[in-house]
Symmetry: none
Subunit: 196 residues, 2 copies
DNA sequence: TGCCGCTGCGACAAAATGTCGCATGGTCAT
DNA sequence: ATGACCATGCGACATTTTGTCGCAGCGGCA
């Protein structure tokens, strides 16, 4: 893992440093504003940043110059960022990828990590959290055993997400399996997961 | 991955088969009743099952005979099952481990998978789900819906019952923990055990 | 006895869900 | 290309399920 700076400021010397020495970072998120803000923050932290808003563009860029780091949104319009994680890892297993999502669920977290993501964070995130995530070596078994029960709403959300991913995100099939109306499932999915 | 049977019945021939041919499975959970029930179910599915209720015993058993499969609860009294996952993987990277938890969280799910767990499931689970989890290779392998997922209503019922008993059947307390109105909880409890 | 907290239940407004329908877009075999 | 078929997003409206209040009864406990 290359060295990079954790402080938010660059000295005059850093400013004129050869750009090729900076670690490369690819940001993939369909929210342009979010991308811009994040890009700025990560640039300040010493990365050479590239932005794309969909999987195609991301792959095109990655194929010519595989990034050392990547930040990928789980929901890219209609596509799933998961497939991108897989492909980036295929191009270079050493790539460190942080997966972001506004709709965090255990099911997608499991998939993301299994596909090779370095970490999985729920929005809103700040740049420092992402830095810390890149840093993370492997599992830190010191994760607190917070035994606070989930709310029923949250439980339902997690369960739905699980069945949904198990069925290739097919809403109609999932609705049938869960014995609920497709319309209702749609509405539930449109909402963000309830906080605890 | 060794062959094993998915049906719940064994033929006479199976019955007298050399036990050493059965895949070995180690169950680690501090809930004895749960262990017994699960052990029985997994034995029926063709495993040679061992049970332990804490990390120490689990390691002792694993060191003399490393299991091919393991089911580990996240919360083992005061300890975290995560460290056990790490150690089992260290003993034999090929071990397939399914992590169970009563209170699923994204954070622990991420840790579990990074430490090498094959899958992460929230209770209540049934044996078939665990079988499917062992099966799962990596990213969204088109898992053909194993059995019959619970309806959301049923899942909610199970969950409420669990939290309720954990709180000495105190409806008010349970309602607060679950972030639902006492009146609503009353009404839900008044209804039948919601079939599938 | 007075203070609290839990419980069951009626009533009514607010929110979620069940139901229909329709237009769009993708897949597939003809 | 064309039609059969299915998934999806979403509007509209009837039906159900909630959230909320309030009240009365029932133990503990100082």
């Amino acid at each position: 893992m290359p060295e990079f700076r954790y402080n938010n400021t660059l000295s005059a010397h850093d400013m004129i440093e050869d750009i090729s020495e900076l670690p490369t970072l690819l940001i993939v998120d369909d929210d342009e504003i979010f991308c811009d803000v994040l890009a700025k923050a990560m640039t300040k932290r010493g990365f050479s940043v590239e932005i794309t808003h969909n999987i195609e563009d991301a792959l095109t860029k990655a194929e010519t110059a595989t990034p050392e780091y990547a930040i990928v949104d789980l929901k890219l319009d209609s596509e799933s960022g998961l497939v991108l994680v897989e492909k980036l890892k295929a191009l270079d297993p050493g790539t460190r990828i942080v997966m972001l999502t506004g709709y965090a669920s255990v099911a997608t977290a499991v998939e993301a990590i299994k596909l090779g993501a370095t970490h999985y964070l729920a929005k809103p995130v700040d740049a420092d959290e992402i830095m810390a995530a890149f840093d993370r070596t492997s599992g830190e078994a010191d994760t607190p055993i917070s035994a606070s029960p989930l709310s029923v709403g949250r439980l339902e959300w997690e369960y739905i997400q699980r069945i949904l991913t198990e069925n290739d995100n097919n809403i109609s099939v999932t609705a049938r399996i869960l014995n609920m109306h497709r319309r209702t499932l749609q509405r539930k999915l449109a909402k963000k997961p309830h906080r605890n």
